[in-house]
């Protein structure tokens, strides 16, 4: 188990090192101009010099993304449970959720900032808003997929709705929620980044990126992009570990023939 876990942590590292190596090689051998693409070594060097600024900003961004995701999950579980319980509610909520999902949130960042003010609030709000629909659909699917034999069994002893939700439906939604979490990580980080760039609070990687772009500071911009990628990767690894621990009973987590 621990050996497997180590391998699981190691594999993404290997993937990243290979990717960065290829990137470095491309920039060096093809003499790509720095404003088109910078070599990772140069980005890392710059990041090293500005470490304080970037770790501070990354911490802000990760908080926005995480708190927003937590809210999204909470709301999704509530709405999703209601949708799984009532088909009327499901049909009523579905188009609204889809609408939320397909509207480019960049379009309403300014409005939300005007409404909620600068800083953490609009970032968390938009992250929660864009992550919520996918979590909701995952909740509904997972709950609907709960083992019918187990449902009958609980019904046969008059388990309350609550007990069925808690003992059967929620755990049944776990696999689809984890799958969605992987997809939502990227969305949450990008949403946090764009809102940070679109308000006046001047915190977070998004603010650094925005300023760098405005003043044509390539090193600063690439360092922000690089930090974002790093945050995304770390989050994905953490989700994998959590999934491994929480969902060890699920087929997806077992050793499989390839």
């Amino acid at each position: 188990m621990t050996h497997q876990l180590l391998r699981r942590l190691l594999a993404p590292l290997v993937g990243i090192v290979v990717f960065l190596g290829a990137w470095e090689l491309l920039v060096r051998t093809q003499h790509v101009r720095p404003f088109v693409l910078r070599a990772p070594s140069r980005i890392v060097h710059y990041l090293g010099q500005q470490a304080g600024d970037y770790t501070g900003a990354a911490w802000v961004t990760i908080q926005h993304a995480m708190i927003g995701t937590a809210f999204a999950l909470l709301v999704a579980l509530l709405i999703g449970s209601a949708m799984a319980a009532s088909s009327f509610f499901e049909h009523a909520a579905q188009p609204v959720l889809t609408l939320l999902q397909v509207t480019p949130f960049v379009a309403y960042i300014a409005s939300v900032v005007l409404w909620l003010g600068s800083g953490t609030k609009p970032a968390v709000f938009i992250v929660a808003l864009v992550c919520m629909p996918a979590f909701t659909f995952a909740t509904v699917d997972g709950m609907r997929g709960a083992d019918p034999a187990a449902r009958e069994l609980l019904a046969s002893v008059d388990a309350t709705r609550w007990e069925v939700l808690w003992r059967l439906r929620l755990p049944s939604a776990m696999p689809s929620l984890f799958t969605t979490a992987r997809y939502n990580v990227g969305l949450a980080l990008i949403a946090a980044y764009l809102v940070e760039g679109g308000n006046f609070a001047n915190e977070g990687l998004g603010a650094i990126g925005k300023r760098a772009a405005a003043f044509n500071k390539g090193d600063a911009l690439w360092a922000a992009v690089f930090s974002m990628a790093l945050l995304g990767t770390i989050s994905l690894v953490l989700i994998s570990v959590a999934q491994r621990l929480v969902m060890h009973w699920h087929v997806s987590q077992r050793r499989q023939l390839r």
Partner: protein, 252 residues
């Protein structure tokens, strides 16, 4: 005393009649099997008795009350065809599942699931998860989960149908051992003749859909049933009786 009384029960799904007027009475402590061809309405009948599906017409009494009372008071313990174990619960926790919900209705004399798990040979697997068990072991957990309720009525819907022949034979012996002398009433649905005869005091033969009882065969093999009961000439004879009744039903 009668545990189950059905009077002119019918059940249809829309236009489809699934149970024809059917009357039946099962005495406390009796082991009664219902045998019939696939799709004849056995599961539907069992679900009506367990209060999971309303009857279309007629009367259903379980313990002298409508099935919903029995259900609310946890007086009926079900063993479904699929074990229905929760994959995130250990064997021990799965065996407790029916005790963990609607606790207000738990009997004061509920049996500790661990003792029962020991009795069915699973004491070494208490902290394992369902995917680590064989099909037979999973079904034994499902059996314990039902027995732990200490309900006076045990309803089993083809619980061994998904198992291989060797394991099924083992399960018959095990089930006889578990319920004999325990004053529990069992309604057992099956499409296996040997299973019905080996386990039951009475075998009810159902016609093809819509289900109605076309033969009621008393199984006069003595109890406790010896483990080699299936070698006895009387066993073979009773199996033939059941088979003939089934064939007559198919020919109708």
């Amino acid at each position: 005393m009668s545990r189950i009384v059905l009077r002119d029960l019918t059940k249809s799904f829309g236009e489809l009649p699934v149970v024809d007027p059917l009357s039946l009475s099962v005495q406390a402590g009796e082991f009664v099997s219902i045998i019939g061809p696939s799709g004849c309405g056995k599961t539907t009948l069992v679900r009506v008795i367990a209060g999971l599906e309303p009857a279309t017409s007629g009367d259903v009494e379980v313990d002298g009350a409508p099935p919903r009372h029995a259900r609310a008071n946890k007086r009926v313990a079900m063993v479904p065809q699929q074990p229905g174990l929760l994959p995130w619960r250990t064997v021990r926790a799965n065996a407790r599942l029916l005790l963990d919900v609607n606790r207000a209705a738990n009997p004061t004399d509920a049996v500790a699931p661990e003792a029962l798990l020991d009795e069915v040979g699973l004491s070494g697997f208490l902290d394992r998860f369902p995917h680590e068990l064989s099909g037979g072991m999973q079904q034994r957990v499902a059996l314990v989960r039902a027995l732990a309720l200490h309900a006076p009525l045990l309803v089993m819907d083809e619980p061994f149908a998904a198992l291989d022949e060797i394991t099924r034979a083992e399960m018959r012996v095990l089930l006889n051992r578990l319920v004999e002398g325990k004053h529990v009433t069992v309604l057992f649905v099956t499409h296996s003749i040997a299973e019905a005869v080996a386990l039951s005091d009475r075998v009810l033969v159902s016609s093809p859909r819509p289900a109605s009882i076309i033969a009621d065969i008393a199984i006069d093999l003595h109890r406790p049933r010896p483990t080699d009961v299936e070698d006895h000439p009387r066993f073979v004879e009773l199996c033939a009786n059941v088979r003939h009744a089934l064939h007559r039903g198919m020919a109708l």
